[in-house]
């Protein structure tokens, strides 16, 4: 983990649209790309609080993040242009364990973000299954050549071999369904976060039966650690 201090400043090297998302490329500077599934806090221009993102790609000398413009902070990040600078802090939290014999990567929507870097770090072209809400969103699958793709109303869970070691990221209903299907899966969760280092107590999730800070415990957690709500099973 990076020693905590002021965020370092990083120049934007490029920004490209991929379907409804934006791939934001930054100069890497002295930052360690970390373990896939860890996250970085990106300062959103004009906003008080930074926004957490897992690393999508780690090209030489760069760090690239996939941003879904869902609010004012993410929109400001999508509007950044090459040459502008933002503060970056990370890597933070716990990522995926890579010592799995038969990996299967599963992504839903913007949850595909950590998978390209995860696939690269695992090596050996692991199988990938991706689910999207529409064909426009599915354009993001270009980041994971060779992936199997489903579009709503087909769900990724219909393509899962439960004997595989599932490493997943996606919307909560998908993660809950995967937890039921593959109790040994490693799942990357999301929560509203102000600080990313345990200071604000904002990002709590029910982990091991109690409200715990996702930034310190996760964001990647073993499936058994998060309780699946009864309504998600039904």
């Amino acid at each position: 983990m990076q020693r905590l201090g002021s965020p370092s400043r990083h120049r934007v090297t490029g920004s490209e649209r991929i379907g409804p998302y934006t791939l934001l490329r930054l100069e890497r500077g002295g930052l360690d790309p970390g373990v896939p599934g860890q996250f970085f806090l990106l300062q959103a221009p004009g906003r008080l609080l930074p926004r957490p993102f897992s690393l999508c790609l780690a090209p030489p000398g760069e760090l690239a993040f996939l941003v879904d413009p869902i609010g004012p902070g993410t929109q400001a990040l999508c509007e950044l242009r090459a040459g502008e600078e933002i503060g970056v802090l990370g890597p933070l939290g716990h990522g995926y364990r890579l010592d799995v014999p038969r990996p299967l990567l599963v992504g839903g929507g913007i949850g595909i973000a950590p998978l390209p870097y995860l696939a690269e770090q695992l090596g050996g072209s692991p199988p990938v299954v991706l689910g999207f809400r529409s064909a426009e969103y599915a354009e993001a699958a270009v980041l994971l050549p060779g992936a199997e793709i489903v579009v709503d109303p087909v769900l990724v869970t219909e393509l899962i071999d439960p004997d595989r070691d599932v490493l997943a990221c996606g919307p909560e209903p998908m993660l809950h369904a995967l937890a039921e299907l593959c109790p040994t899966a490693q799942l990357a969760w999301e929560a509203r976060m102000a600080c990313g280092y345990g200071a604000c107590y904002g990002c709590v999730v029910e982990i091991d039966g109690a409200l715990k800070r996702l930034c310190l415990e996760g964001p990647v957690l073993d499936a058994a650690r998060v309780r699946v709500p009864a309504e998600a099973v039904a």
Binding site: R3, L4, G5, S6, P7, Q43, R47, L48, L49, P50, G73, G87, L89, A191, R192, M193, A194, C195, Y197, G198, A199, C200, Y201, G202, C203, V204, V205, A210, L211, L216
Partner: protein
């Protein structure tokens, strides 16, 4: 001028390198019994601020004293323990337990949910704590009170040694579908939006009492810290800024010299109380 953290804005055990930048570390509020806190979502960003409804999540007095405080005391930074409760007896019992501990100062969180914020109630709590401990007692007040100076005078008379000003203000933020973002409904507003309110509270309490004041509310820079000192604060605390910048204590301290030069004062301490309002001048001359 010392730089502290605002209670609840830093976990020194999770981020010791941030706590090490401070002149004193203020704990998250400790209540008699453990509290899991509010359901998520607990935070929301607003214009120039944020809301939080953490709900005083803490391990409770017994575990705090047995497990947390001994570890905190190893950090090499004076520990201020924030104490909360629902009755004066709650507060006093915790103060009594802290009296023989590693705590350097007790900050009484007098802006807890379900605690009457009337002047006599705050004073009653301070008086009960005063007889329970010899440790310095700082009373943390909310600017929501219509006359915070009156509360300040009351807690001073009851034996407080200092004031922490201010706590967050109750507020609400709505989502796209016009429902409260926070699961609890309302939360406490912090960040730059709170700064002018906090400066005023510090100013009037400085005029009303001679107690040392820890000023806080939206401090982001050395200049902000200097403004609190100019309004009468002896020390300052950083809250929300720590979330975006865990290096803020070092940065704010470094910015202070330039802020002093720009304002034409030799040091932050020389600026204390400089910001007398025309209101005050009028009172003085009358």
């Amino acid at each position: 001028m010392r730089i502290l953290n605002a209670s609840g804005c830093l976990d020194a055990l999770a981020a010791p390198e941030v706590a090490a930048q401070l002149d004193a570390f203020v704990t998250k509020t400790v209540t008699p019994l453990p509290r899991e806190g509010s359901a998520p979502p607990r935070i929301a960003e607003t214009a120039h601020g944020m809301l939080n409804a953490i709900g005083l999540a803490n391990p409770g007095r017994e575990r705090f004293l047995a497990e947390h405080l001994p570890k905190l005391s190893l950090l090499g930074v004076p520990i201020w323990v924030s104490v909360g409760g629902f009755t004066a007896a709650d507060y006093a019992e915790t103060c009594s337990a802290l009296d023989r501990s590693e705590a350097a100062v007790i900050e009484l969180n007098l802006s807890c949910p379900n605690v009457d914020e009337a002047a006599d109630s705050a004073a009653e709590i301070v008086a009960a704590c005063r007889s329970a401990t010899e440790l310095p007692l700082y009373a943390k007040l909310s600017a929501a009170h219509p006359d915070i100076a009156e509360v300040a005078r009351a807690v001073a008379a009851a034996g407080a040694d200092g004031l922490s000003l201010v706590n967050t203000l109750r507020a609400v933020a709505l989502d796209r579908r016009l429902r409260p973002v926070l699961a609890r409904g309302s939360g406490g507003l912090s960040g730059p939006a709170l700064k002018p309110v906090a400066l005023y509270a510090v100013s009037v309490c400085h005029e009303a009492t001679s107690l040392p004041i820890v000023g806080m509310g939206g401090i982001e820079s050395g200049r902000d810290a200097l403004e609190f000192v100019a309004c009468g604060a002896r020390d300052v605390a950083l809250g929300t800024v720590l979330f975006a910048d865990p290096g803020a204590p070092v940065r704010v301290r470094a910015e202070l010299a330039a802020a002093c030069t720009e304002a034409g004062v030799a040091s932050a301490d020389d600026a204390r109380g400089l910001a007398k309002s025309p209101e005050t001048e009028a009172k003085v001359s009358a």
